[in-house]
């Protein structure tokens, strides 16, 4: 591993960690709302969250480049707030990753919340637990397997991100050149030895993450969120 390799690995880990944290903070309330709501607009909101699963990354990359650019509404907002423009920055990659990985975090959480069912929450309510109390001491602990799945998938999917980063990142070492882009760069330049080193690392990482996920989630599958 060269210094450039390590820089790409560290950058990727940082991006994935920050994105996962934000995804959990934003995704948990969204998932909770989607799991509990009786709104007729629920399918619309659920679809909006799931859009990145269906859309090619180029669509997201293209719109982000235009929207976050100096003439786009998001770009004008960030500039007027004094943050500057987001493309070619780490913050820009975080915004893109959060949008792109959102379904991978919201969907497992939503399923976990839905599996809890009304009865436990009603029981908690009769014991005078308030709404926040019910959420933090009943729902969240019961949804732990979903929380774990969401975290791991959010992290792993951000590590595996490529198209969006390529389109808005600008391939800057230490700032936006994440692992997937570094590998692409090496392959396109016929630097196969360099590409192999990083690609093999990625394969090992992906396998490790998924095996961990399946091992940790095994008991939950035997007992899918039954109230105890």
């Amino acid at each position: 591993m060269t210094a450039a390799d390590w820089s790409a690995i560290v950058l990727t880990a940082e991006l994935a960690a920050v994105s996962t944290l934000l995804l959990l903070l934003l995704g948990t309330p969204i998932a909770w709302w989607l799991a509990r709501t009786r709104s007729r607009l629920k399918p619309v909101w659920a679809s909006l969250v799931a859009m990145p699963l269906v859309l090619p990354p180029t669509v997201l990359g293209f719109y982000l480049l235009v929207l976050m650019g100096p003439l786009g509404p998001v770009g004008q907002l960030t500039q007027s707030l004094g943050v500057g423009r987001l493309p070619f920055t780490f913050a820009g990659l975080v915004v893109a990753s959060v949008l792109y990985s959102m379904p991978f975090v919201v969907q497992p959480l939503q399923q976990a919340f839905e599996a809890i069912g009304e009865r436990v929450l009603e029981a908690a309510a009769t014991l005078r637990a308030g709404a926040w109390d019910r959420f933090f001491t009943v729902a969240l602990p019961l949804a732990r397997p979903g929380l774990l799945t969401a975290s791991v998938l959010g992290f792993a999917h951000t590590v595996g991100e490529f198209g969006v980063v390529l389109m808005i990142g600008g391939n800057i070492p230490g700032t936006t050149r994440v692992l997937s882009v570094a590998i692409y760069d090496h392959v396109e330049a016929s630097e196969f030895a360099d590409a192999h080193r990083l690609a093999a690392f990625m394969v090992a990482f992906a396998l490790l993450v998924l095996v961990t996920l399946y091992v940790l989630n095994r008991p939950a599958r035997d007992d899918p969120g039954t109230a105890r």
């Binding site: 235009v66 650019g69 423009r85 070619f88 600008g170 800057i172 760069d185 396109e188 016929s190």
Partner: protein, 251 residues
């Protein structure tokens, strides 16, 4: 009356069939800077020969990897003269078919009017947050941009602001959307014939970078294709040459 109509229809179908039999498809890999000119040349080529082009556009260095890996391109229209020579040396292109079709011109360009002066002094001003170049490992225009920065002694000053496009097309796109204030692009991308150059630009003097001799070559996959050979011949013809010059390329 009905019989005549049928005859006309039959005749038309027959005519179409002969036309289709002659019309061939040429798959072309073209350097991103030459995509615009090739689209125009392709129209003239189609009406002159009936053949149509199937065009893939990207950085020359990428095409090298793809062709070495067996990509089915019949013709490469490169942005340098090294890649075609290397392909010939490695037996991936046909000996003796490479020729210079254009001399590329490098431009420092901004989408904002009045941002770039005609001496390129803006490069040393530090007034910009991002400067885009094409990937110097893959794109000859990116390599040329690095030479310009070296000649001006600005490599260290500019490196923290450097953004790399995967081809000259992405470099252009970053500047065109305003996400980067400045970028080194090909003159052919901003000198679209019949349209005024938008924004502001500095045509970089040839003394600051090595001449970008752009060569085309017949690849092994096109060795037995008359249509591919016809395209290379057409590229040397007067109509094609006038299109090439109208996009600002040197002779």
């Amino acid at each position: 009356m009905k019989c005549c109509f049928q005859q006309i229809l039959m005749g038309a179908a027959l005519g179409l069939a002969t036309l289709l039999a002659q019309a061939d498809e040429v798959s072309v890999a073209v350097a991103a800077n030459f995509t615009g000119p090739l689209a125009r040349i392709g129209e003239g080529f189609a009406s002159a020969t009936g053949h149509v082009l199937k065009v893939s556009s990207g950085a020359t260095g990428k095409f090298y990897s793809q062709i070495a890996a067996g990509a089915p391109f019949q013709v490469l229209i490169a942005a340098d003269d090294e890649t075609p020579k290397k392909l010939i040396a490695e037996g991936l292109a046909v000996t003796g078919t490479n020729f210079t079709y254009a001399i590329g011109k490098l431009v420092l360009w901004s989408a904002q009017p009045g941002f770039v002066d005609d001496q390129g002094a803006v490069l040393a001003s530090g007034k910009f947050a991002h400067l885009v170049i094409a990937n110097p490992k893959l794109a000859p225009y990116g390599q040329a941009a690095v030479e310009v920065l070296k000649a001006r002694g600005l490599v260290n000053a500019v490196t923290p602001k450097l953004v790399t496009g995967e081809s000259i097309a992405q470099a252009y796109q970053f500047v065109a959307t305003g996400n980067a204030e400045l970028g080194f692009v090909a003159l052919s991308q901003v000198a679209v014939p019949g349209k005024p150059v938008s924004g502001s630009s500095w045509l970089v003097p040839q003394s600051l970078y090595g001449e970008i001799r752009q060569e085309a070559v017949l690849l092994k996959a096109g060795e037995n294709s008359p249509a591919a050979a016809a395209l290379l011949a057409y590229l040397k013809s007067a109509p094609a040459r006038s299109v090439i010059q109208s996009f600002g390329y040197g002779p």
